[in-house]
Point group: C2
Chain length 117, copies 2
């Protein structure tokens, strides 16, 4: 749900598969009152979901935002998806904050990471 | 492989599952000679892969880049992964262009899109 620019500069690591990714790509509406507070609140709230592993977010100025959430299993995603406060935020997002978005929920089959020595 | 800023401002649509996503998150090295040309070449090259569906990319200035490639099936990903020119670009990326990166390859189980009316 979040795609504000307070991004960490270390990508979330490669976990041992299987795990889940929720890929959320979006284009913002021009006017976004209240968005920042809600995004920050969602970032806090998701941390309480058992099986939540982390989040990556990037935003091209004036362009696309991509947020990827990582979850240990489908139950963790179901719990996050059904969270009441999250559902209210999604509703408000469709009504006010997004021009368009796509969500892809997928089960990771392989992963790897690289870090400069 | 690509995360330059020539991003489209429409997210790739939600396809009918199953399909695959390759989520590539990265932090750049400070010096990146030759990166832009190679990224542009990879974006052209991947279009020749049968089963390639599209790509989303976003980059927070000074922060994280995320590129998501969409593929119809595992064969399409295998073909892209084994492309000689792509492999050379990956090598050069590890040697010169990236501080760190993570790749997550995952099979999409559900997806949906939203577009403001």
């Amino acid at each position: 749900m979040s795609d504000h620019s307070g991004a960490s500069v270390t990508p979330v690591e490669a976990f041992e598969p299987p795990y889940y990714v929720a890929v959320f790509t979006s284009v913002h509406a021009e006017e976004r009152s209240g968005y920042g507070e809600t995004a920050a609140r969602m970032e806090e709230l998701v941390k309480d979901v058992p099986g939540y592993l982390g989040m990556d977010t990037a935003q091209t100025p004036g362009g696309l935002s991509i947020t990827v959430g990582y979850f240990r299993d489908a139950d963790a995603l179901t719990q996050w998806r059904s969270n009441t406060e999250h559902r209210a935020a999604q509703s408000r997002g469709r009504a006010e904050w997004y021009e368009s978005y796509t969500l892809h929920v997928a089960k990771v089959e392989r992963s790897h990471g690289f870090k400069r020595a």
